[in-house]
């Protein structure tokens, strides 16, 4: 069995040679290939824009969640001051869930940033190669006989075809990732809008949930204790009033 390197090489080259089979005349091959390259470069630029948009959206959600953390904290404090420990507990439970969501968002933003960097690097390489190809193409057209040109074109086209396949893969992966993010971002928008941040879509097991329940329970307990401590003095003053 061929190695991974060998197989990857074969797959990438096969992809591009199929494309070039469509054109036979050397000059036609050059122009055809050049057009493909420009189209691909447009796609890459769109891909970068898509990733940036998704990232912005996630960052906006981060801000919204941070605001809702503050709000929940205020609500818990108010509920406790009013003697409604049950409401305070509910607010703090939501706060814990929101904190988890925030951590998830941070990871997603980092993932998109990595994707964005890769795409930009791909775009830069492709642009440089297209520029080199463009100048070579004119030299080949002007200086070589049909037979010689065929050989030179084969080389240049394979070299750039490889870059095109590589860049195509980078866009494809960025697109998959952004689509996934956008679906999640949409779901998150709904949760934020409805004020419930419970994660109904998770594939966690019952045990996972129970374990999380225990740890979030203890976090809620300690936060309750903290709030009670802070409100202690105020509550006593209240009791002194007639």
């Amino acid at each position: 069995m061929a190695g991974l390197m060998g197989r990857a090489t074969t797959v990438v080259k096969a992809k591009f040679s199929k494309l070039l089979d469509n054109a036979e005349d050397p000059n036609e091959t050059l122009d055809y290939s050049y057009e493909q390259q420009l189209t691909l470069l447009q796609n890459v630029k769109r891909g970068v824009a898509d990733v940036v948009t998704s990232k912005k959206r996630l960052q906006l959600q981060t801000t919204q969640l941070e605001q809702s953390l503050l709000k929940l904290e205020t609500q818990a404090r108010a509920a406790l001051a009013a003697g409604r420990e049950d409401l305070a507990r509910a607010a703090l439970e939501r706060k814990t869930t929101t904190q988890e969501q925030l951590r998830g968002l941070d990871e997603q933003v980092k993932g998109l940033e990595a994707q964005q960097e890769k795409l930009i690097a791909s775009e830069r390489q492709l642009s440089a190669k297209i520029e080199a190809f463009r100048s070579q193409k004119e030299v080949i057209k002007a200086q070589y006989s049909a037979a010689e040109a065929q050989v030179r074109i084969g080389e240049a086209a394979t070299g750039i075809g490889e870059q095109m396949a590589d860049t195509g893969l980078a866009i494809q992966r960025a697109r998959d990732k952004t689509e996934d993010m956008q679906a999640r971002a949409g779901a998150m928008d709904e949760l934020i809008a409805s004020g419930t941040l419970e994660d109904f879509t998770s594939d966690k097991t019952q045990l996972d949930r129970e374990l999380e329940q225990i740890s979030s329970q203890s976090q809620v307990d300690s936060e309750l204790a903290r709030l009670k401590g802070e409100l202690g003095a105020g509550a006593e003053r209240k009791e002194l009033r007639p």
């Binding site: 390197m5 990857a8 494309l19 493909q36 796609n43 390489q125 440089a128």
Partner: protein, 95 residues
């Protein structure tokens, strides 16, 4: 020999480097057959490391085709398999 690190760029490597790459490649194939993703990623990362450390980076404007192409390690096992399947992971180029 010219090697492409998919998603990163091309490097020129010498024979000693190529021998090492072939050894690592054998390990990677075995890991893929065993469906051992951690092992596969580790072998690919090593291959990338060897090429980056010992190879000479080609200019972005260089049009020389590569002799060998090394897939990235951040592909999942399924993506790696798709890469080698008939349809391939690589999308069709713009027509």
């Amino acid at each position: 020999m010219i090697v492409r690190l998919m998603g990163e760029g091309q490097y020129r490597v010498d024979d000693a480097c190529l021998t090492r790459l072939n050894e690592l490649d054998d390990g990677a194939v075995e890991a893929l057959e065993r469906e051992d993703e951690a092992e596969l990623d580790a072998r690919l990362d090593e291959m990338w490391g060897v090429v980056r450390d010992q190879g000479n980076r080609l200019d972005d404007g260089d049009l020389t085709p590569s002799d060998l192409i090394i897939p990235p390690s951040d592909l999942t096992l399924e993506e790696t398999r798709a890469l080698f399947s008939e349809q391939g992971l690589i999308p069709d180029l713009p027509a």
